[in-house]
Symmetry: C2
């Protein structure tokens, strides 16, 4: 029987990165388009990646004392209007519900673009004493932002995410939470997505609407463009004052709570694709891969091959790994391409000769390295290869980030580096003036990504601002971004 579809061709990554990306999301069966611009169908294979991300993060959140809740998806216009900066930031991009059935609503409702105001309204109801604090809430849901330009996973009008919202007695507690969640996000990206990130703080102009400070993790994609992969926000008592969320302290004084919020989204899937993928398709981090090992029987019509393949499937499954045996009648060649496209970390081949020698062949998706593995220690070898692949793709992404990180003293140098070496992160000093930030972006295309944390040692690369030459106040990472 002929193969059910032809081997899928995709655009080369170096030829047209944007087209390569679109090819992958479609040909690896991650998404489908819907009739509403910017709203995508997340197909089973794409959604399974998201379920793995959810499972791992949800455990981390719960292990640190967070509880899940569900807030309504609708926000009355008057509620959204309560915090001035917040509404200014979000009003231009919300979807408005005006009718319920055939009736005109007395007040418009927006579909949540984020849920700060809903959590505030609820916190006002349930917080009264210091004994009620902290409140460490999280929700998994979809949100809507009416973007003009959209791309699957990276920027869509509706996307899935989690949003943590917390209330604390003191500023210190809220700042601790904001930084703790940033660390959790960064660890998760490194350990589970094998994607190195830089932790930093956003400049004033790039802060979340309503925040005192916004922290972020920034990753560098294969093409040298930055991806903001997650953010955490410290709100001070701004929302608490706007919503009148107070508690009576131990010495019986009425105090405002201090708040934080933090979120990551399906955008992370875009980050995985652009960090690890290659010209044959996806390369998935083992922790979130829907299938970690695909077993492909060779000469499966021969006696004993399928039986042995099923036995290996069972053994790998029993070891707690996600395994799939493809015993369909498609050719081995078709299967090889298919699971490469889908980024399955390990391919295990087993045929009559292997069985004779009590071994199998395992091929790594990232390096295509072949290993002959004795069946006696199959589970151990598979686990080891998965660990090595995870480490390998992390190091490759880190090497890309390092090779594409340039230290610059002035705008000319920035432009030279970017045109000679391609896009990347630029480390350069800044005076702190928004005018300079804007000018750098205008002249180089690279905006300020963040003021990196933990850069004390290497932070001071010049005394003067990369733009105006006046005294510099801090190091900034600049880059073009998704």
């Amino acid at each position: 029987m002929s193969d059910k579809k032809l081997v899928k061709e995709i655009t080369s990554r170096d030829e047209d990165f944007a087209k390569w990306y679109t090819d992958i999301v479609l040909k690896a069966d991650l998404i489908g388009y819907s009739g509403v611009k910017g709203c995508m169908v997340i197909r089973p294979y794409g959604y399974a990646i998201w379920e793995n991300i959810q499972r791992i993060l949800d455990k981390r959140f719960k292990d640190t004392g967070h509880e899940n809740v569900y807030m309504p998806m609708f926000i009355p216009e008057s509620l959204l209007n309560k915090e001035k900066d917040h509404i200014e930031g979000f009003a231009p991009e919300v979807a408005w519900v005006t009718h319920g059935g055939s009736e005109l609503l007395s007040e418009r409702l927006c579909v949540r673009p984020t849920s700060e105001v809903l959590f505030c309204e609820h916190y006002k109801q349930i917080i009264s004493s210091y004994r009620d604090l902290p409140k460490l809430y999280n929700q998994w849901c979809s949100v809507v932002r009416w973007e003009k330009t959209t791309r699957p996973f990276l920027r869509s009008r509706e996307f899935l995410w989690q949003e943590g919202h917390t209330a604390h007695a003191t500023k210190e507690d809220a700042v601790f939470e904001t930084e703790r969640m940033l660390d959790i996000y960064a660890d998760f990206c490194a350990e589970s997505l094998n994607m190195p990130v830089i932790k930093g703080i956003k400049t004033e102009s790039d802060k979340f609407a309503g925040a005192v400070s916004t922290y972020c993790i920034e990753a560098l994609m294969h093409d040298g463009k930055a991806l903001q992969a997650g953010t955490t926000h410290y709100f001070g008592d701004g929302f608490a004052r706007a919503f009148d969320i107070t508690y009576s302290s131990k010495d019986n004084k009425l105090e405002y709570v201090h708040q934080s919020s933090w979120g990551v989204s399906t955008r992370l899937i875009g980050g995985i694709i652009m960090s690890h993928g290659d010209d044959s398709g996806l390369v998935l981090p083992p922790s979130v891969a829907p299938i970690q090992v695909v077993i492909i029987p060779v000469a499966q019509h021969k006696e004993g091959v399928l039986e042995k393949a099923r036995e290996l499937e069972e053994r790998i499954k029993s070891a707690g790994l996600r395994v799939k045996l493809d015993d369909s009648d498609n050719s081995a060649g078709w299967k090889f391409s298919e699971y490469e496209m889908k980024g399955v970390p390990l391919r295990l081949e087993i045929g009559p000769k292997d069985i004779e020698q009590n071994q199998c062949v395992i091929v790594r998706r990232d390096t295509r390295e072949k290993t002959f593995v004795t069946l006696d220690n199959l589970e151990g070898e598979v686990a080891k290869l998965l660990r090595e692949l995870a480490k390998g793709i992390y190091e490759k992404a880190l090497a890309n980030m390092n090779a594409r990180t340039y230290i610059c003293q002035n705008i000319d140098e920035m432009n030279t580096k970017l045109s000679e070496n391609g896009d990347g992160f630029i480390k350069a000093m800044w005076c702190g003036e928004e005018a300079c930030e804007d000018e750098v972006k205008e002249k180089t295309g690279a905006g300020s990504r963040c003021i990196p944390l933990n850069e004390e040692a290497e932070g001071h690369i010049s005394d003067v601002c990369v733009c105006c030459g006046k005294p510099a106040s801090c190091l900034v990472i600049w880059g073009k971004a998704y």
Copy 2:
């Protein structure tokens, strides 16, 4: 230190069932009200019940070959209009988005009340051959129906649910799926919610908009009113024709697919409350209880008590159970009331005297029965008591259903039974005419709930319709409903 809040009083269940229900959802911290009528906040304790329901059902779905996906929340008006019956059923109760930011949309979008048309649009894109079938998809999401009268969990404008949508090559396959999922729902209600249900088929007038046949599970609440707890729908090829979803069969003919859909929602939480709750609050089925065992140390200031309590907590946790130790400084009396209100199945008390005797006291939430349990076999005894409680509340709910199920021959008898014995299920024959169905409802308040399945033996209780006296075609279960 005084207790952080007073012991909570709730309305008696027999005095005012509706008020009792509202008291429980608020005082057991299941929900909070939001600023939008009919949209509730699901608080951590309520959401944890839903997470347990999701976990158990999701595993059942995946074990039967279903895959999760995510469809957009917006449906363009023209797409909703494609299937005539479907739009007629849902148009009066959808929320319409008309603006994105400040821009008027060229076409209104409704917030999904259910996602048949979105799945159809997608299936048209991805199904072409018999090899692509069946498609067994499910999604967990929230949906919106602009109801006039709302009650937490039972009928809200936004609610959480899962919706399965499947496409099959043949009618037989689709009907099999529709009935299989009904069985899974019924088993789940019995085993995991300890809530007995009747499986049946809806009459023509009560079918889902667009379905050939709608199956349902109906439970009887403590007050004798019915709760539709889940539905599964067989669509035939109606949607396939409207959306032109075809596949080429093995002998290369173009055929329409046959479809099903099925869903349960947060309404199940309302069912749990009204099936098992009592005048002290919730009584939760062990399978979905966020806390299965609460440990309350007695005289916890005495040496060794808290240490022993923590040791027991660790042991119960290691046995895979959900346990909470309340070592707060609230009084034991306050704690007793609090965890009774929250419906925690087992309360474990441990004090100095118990420790001396190497035992503890375990109290069942449903019967308040006390058992002295030797610590040597603590895990085994806890597991046994949880099983017994699950069985006990199931049997109690079943006894309520049986005691409140009346066989009637005519409308007068129906009214007599309902007024003398209170609301309940009425088994009576029906001719099949909608006029009679309407008349029964008008004269008794009891609508047709379903034509029960598996009632061959006891099904024939009369030859004539309970309403018109003409020849009857089937047995119907009638009842007032939520």
